[in-house]
Amino acid sequence: MGATRVLITGVGVVSSIGLGKDEYFRALAEGRSGISPVESFDASHLGRQVAGEVKAFRAQDHLTSAELRHTGRCSAMTLAAARMAIADAGIAPELLRGPRTAVVIGTTMGEADVIASLDHAWIKSGPKGITRALLPKYGSTLLPIHVARAIGAQGMVLTLPAACAAGNYAIGFGADLIRAGRADVVVTGASEIVQELQFSGFVRLAAMAPSRCQPFDLNRQGIIVGEGSGLVILESEEHAVRRGARAQAEVGGYGLSCDAYHITRPHPDASGSIAAMRSALADSGIGPEAVDFVNAHGTGTRANDLAEAKVMADVFGGRKVPISSVKSMIGHCMGAASALEAVACVMTIETGIYPPTIAYETPDPDCDLDVVANVARTGKADVVLNNSLAFGGYNAVTCFARPGVLPPPVPRRANGAVGHA
């Protein structure tokens, strides 16, 4: 296993700063914020009032009427992003149909609005108040199911609920499915919606900032939740070449680990995150010197920023690799975060533009990093890492590269060993 290159041939985005990759990345490059007053529920009494809601998304512009009946907002965004990614890949519908296409989607809560509606009806009116037609829409695995239905994929349909690292889990595992020979094409990524329960939960954890998300800033005040969907089309090199597709990036590999320390806080010594990043490099067959840019998890909490600074110092030693957090613009899109950021990484490789960390005013002296401050920077972007940490002590790092720059694929193991053990 492992002797196939995995290529990204298309990306799709539903975000608070734009629909589709061009709008999305133009806004990121310009440093535009998608944070605005919450409209999807009444947040006036919750102590915090802003989020990165996707206000321009209208499900009916992207879904059939039958799909609209079957989907909550999270699935609707997923399906829309999938269609954009497929269009971007220029892949013929018949090449997606059949058992060799899999769909793997990450999320934290999935159809959170559906379960909220069910709960509210139940609490107010008892079991008989529950609309029966709503029940099948709260399934654990509906995000990939809706995508697979729409495109005729007949392979694995899997949800990876890996909290705020879910996008990296899904994309990494999707690449593994191709390398293991279990699929030729994988539609993968992650989605999340802003919803009252999780908004209130973060407020109650005292984790939420009042107006801005300021990663790596001394005066940071916490996260701001956001929403959206980021999807990518992964193809085996053979499949992509056969249909004459242009590769936008290669998935070099990924690394996973678990802190086994605390359910919400990262381990202060960052050993899990460090292991995940080293594993992503080993899985990609490269050393830290090959990395040009790191998309930070950068949530805007002190615990996160200190852990990430430790990772950067440990993995890269004295070399300061440029790092930036798009969460300063679109907020923390939870399950969708690392998928939206993966799309940003692909666009960075395509354009050579490092998106900025906006609202970066007073560098935190404990985060000795080369933060791309406030305005985008251009630079070499052959190899880009995407870092993520999550509730549950989940860590995941994906490695994306310009096609052709990584060493030829050989059966390789995530601990750096080559060949089968």
Partner: protein, 403 residues
């Protein structure tokens, strides 16, 4: 997939906690005859409510009583199963690693509905009082990988922690994930399986769908064969089951006896032709998944001695599953219904069935049977699961052979 060794089992089920107690219960496999007394929620509002819970579940007996207060039922079930699996496989002794180490052991666990207990509790506070009063210590429990995260914290599993969600197929899909993670060297060994917890919301939801067994007194007296043929409705269950899975070479070098081998996996998704329906039992998907799993194991259909099916009493799904099994394996193959004994435990269902498969491959007689009779000592078990949306997965397990 490559053949993988199963060297341990951690199980918390309605028929027993721990491998020995579970296997003892399987010596006389019979449909669930428990009282159906509900401990996990107040069922007085639901006359006739009968569910298959883990009876008298006391996590403190296994975990001590410190640190349990904010954990939900799902987490407690899973953490106990995790601890049992780690010790049964010999990775730990008396709570400490003795073989392998924390950074080389991980967990890949299926769950279908998350902690509905936590979500509904917080929703209740938010709706009836104010969202400002929700308990922040319980908020993390609302994310779907929370129970898995706690399993890592309690048992120090750091190589990786991957929560998998694919409804009833999730625990079998976790086998495919684990095979890939072992192949890529992301872990030396993995705990693989699933967990699902009883909750009022789960009961109310399935009850409103009309999916649960009818409120008739004699339903428990129906034989599994009668239940399967009548589509009597499902008996909702719960529990957690984890197999300790590792490469053959590691099991050999550790000097561990293999309980069974995992050797094949298949899955398929075939939704209905028309856009109107969402819920869809697909015999074609089941047929393809099962045939692929057998081929993946390098076997032929004639090698399969018994099927640990997902038959649960849901008529349309049971008929589709049995039809698919018949098309692949013929009409005489023995088919068991683990859910008749253990209840429909959804995300844990496939793991419960694999745990039964381990017992049968170790010499116990398969059951409860809904079709056929195994004609010889069981050497090969096929485990099947039907998803609710046109998906289906299958796994093949074999008795250990000399390698």
């Amino acid at each position: 997939m490559r053949s993988r060794a199963i060297t341990g089992l951690g199980i918390v089920s309605t028929a027993g906690i721990g491998r020995e107690s579970f296997f003892r219960a399987l010596e006389s496999p019979a449909p669930f005859t428990g009282t159906g007394r509900v401990e996990s929620f107040d069922a007085t509002a639901y006359p006739g409510c009968r569910v298959a819970e883990v009876p008298d579940f006391d996590p403190a007996k296994y975990l001590g009583d410190k640190g349990l207060r904010t954990l939900d039922r799902l987490t407690k079930l899973l953490v106990v199963a995790t601890r049992l699996a780690m010790h049964d496989a010999g990775f730990k002794k008396d709570g400490l690693y003795v073989q392998s180490s924390a950074d080389r052991v991980g967990i890949c666990c299926s769950n279908a509905y998350g902690s509905l207990e936590a979500i509904t509790e917080l929703d209740r506070v938010a709706t009836l009082e104010d969202a400002r009063y929700i308990n922040p210590a319980k908020f993390p429990n609302t994310v779907a990988n929370s129970a898995s995260g706690y399993a890592s914290i309690w048992e120090d599993l750091r190589a990786l922690n991957v929560a998998v969600s694919d409804g009833n197929c999730g625990a079998l899909d976790a086998v495919a994930c684990a095979d890939i993670f072992l192949e890529t060297g992301r872990a030396d060994a993995l705990l693989v399986g699933g967990a699902e917890a009883m909750s009022e919301a789960l009961y109310v939801g399935f009850s409103r769908l009309g999916a649960l067994e009818p409120k008739v007194k004699d339903v428990s007296t129906l034989s599994p064969r009668q239940r399967a043929s009548r589509g009597a409705g499902a008996l909702l269950g719960e529990g957690a089951a984890l197999l300790a899975v590792e490469p053959m070479e590691l099991a050999a070098s550790r000097g561990r006896r293999r309980l069974a081998d995992l050797s094949g996996y298949g899955t398929a998704f075939l939704p209905p032709d028309h856009e109107g329906a969402l819920i869809h039992p697909s015999p074609e998907a089941m047929e393809r998944a099962l045939a692929d799993a057998i081929a993946d194991a390098g076997l032929s259909p004639a090698d399969v001695d018994v099927v640990a099916s997902g038959v649960s009493g849901l008529g349309a799904f049971d008929r589709a599953e049995l039809a698919a099994i018949e098309r692949v394996l013929g009409k005489d193959v023995a088919v068991a219904a683990p859910k008749a004994m253990l209840g429909e435990s959804l995300g844990a269902g496939g793991a419960m069935a694999m745990a039964m498969g381990v017992a049968w491959l170790g010499g116990l007689a398969p059951g409860p049977l809904v079709r056929g009779t195994p004609g010889r000592r069981v050497r090969t078990v096929a485990v099947t699961s039907m998803g609710f949306y046109g998906n289906a997965s299958a796994v093949v397990m074999q008795a250990p052979r000399e390698t």
